[in-house]
């Protein structure tokens, strides 16, 4: 089953690199909430850590290269790593730039 999903997803996946230290969440609602409070670093950090702790979000290092696809219903959301960690993580598209797989941070 995962192989089938992986094949289907591979057809629409591209590689993206995180421009900044960013995040991915279980739902786009959580992404929207974090985006709303991002301008207040202390509030953001407290809420983000809470969401990480409760298993709803993860941190993504600056420079990390991920597979992803833009959500058709909301172009501001990137669904990351749906093949490796389904159903993927929802992340703010504006934090990523599309790259070729080989670019991998030059590492």
């Amino acid at each position: 089953m995962s192989l089938i999903l992986a094949v289907l997803l591979a057809a629409v996946q591209a590689h993206y690199q995180a421009r900044v230290l960013t995040f991915g969440c279980n739902s786009s609602t959580e992404v929207a909430e974090l985006q709303r409070i991002r301008s207040d670093p202390k509030t953001f950090q407290n809420r983000f850590l809470e969401l990480v702790t409760y298993g709803q979000c993860i941190a993504i290092a600056k420079g990390a290269v991920v597979e992803g696809a833009v959500e058709s219903a909301d172009r501001s959301i990137l669904r990351l790593e749906a093949a490796s960690s389904p159903p993927g993580y929802m992340a703010p598209m504006s934090d990523f730039k599309q790259v070729k797989a080989a670019e991998k941070s030059g590492k």
Binding site: L5, L49, V52, T53, A59, A61, G63, R79, P86
Partner: protein, 367 residues
Amino acid sequence: MASLRRELPVTLLSGVLVAAAMLPARARAQDVTDVKPPKSNLVLKESGSFFVGGHPEHIDSAFGSGGEGSSMINQMYFQFQKPATGNDEYPIVFVHGCCLSSKTWETTPDGRMGWYEYFTRKGFDTYMGDQVGRARSGFNALEYNRVQAGVDPGTSNPRITIATDQFAWNVFRFGDFATKTPWPDERFPMQTVGVGPHSSLDFYKQVIPDLSTTVGTGSRPIDPGDVWPSASQMAKLARKLGGAILVGHSQSSSYPTRAALFDPTGVKGMIQLETGCFDNLTPAYIDILKKIPLLVMVGDHFSTPQPPESCITEMQQLKAAGGDMTFIALPDLGIQGNSHMFMQDNNNLQIADIIIDWIDKHVEKKH
């Protein structure tokens, strides 16, 4: 089934009898004098440890010690024990949350029996794993050395999560941090976080740096399950075991679902402690999850309504598809005062029994 859940008999079986099994749990506490010996011996037929997954990452001579080569990253450490007399349930696999390790499931900070031992005593083959990026599991240290060598700017350094005592009080819901006043009905052993006479800080010894931000920073591996690997490693283990019940807590609470979606073959049950719900499941994902029973359990003193919206959405979707999802807020059962760490609360074995009862009623048997 019920008869198998009594205390295991003190019987020496032929074959492998682990010497450590005959010892009380004295050696596993953070302060040995705190450990309360059990009333009966724990009799095992086997215990051990192993790794799942991981891949070699190329390390340039500028960043490695001892020259250019490869270094293993993202491997996940598991340890297990099997009772001499088992039950008819599938093995159970525990994975811990943020800033913690599989110590979570061992002797509680005040010296009582933890779930690792209790579930074994109840007849389960019991496994527990350290998340990738924590404790005995691997992580990608190359990111740090690149910054240290000046190749990458400091701003690209992965952030190490260092959980403070204030974090613990607020997120684990112990009470008011400023005044160090626990909730009146708080069930966590507060004497291990500095409350009351003769208190200690023993619980904080379990809290360790969390390197999970390094997860996903390795070179794109051949195996897609090695990108953010803890959940996929759980799926691989479940498959190798021929079936398992996966348990995630807190940071790992969503991993059982992710594992099932990665490869449902071995996932017989999903237990998610303190959230881990999704509201972005596609019909294809729901079609997989509807076949595996799911329990989500939360404690007391949340500042937000329970269940959260994402759990309500997921439950509606799964039930509409014929799935089996149970949400238990312990206060709804009349059990008040449980913290985020209810596997260590003063009623931890009562909570374990609720979970075992759910397994009995919802998860298929081995045979």
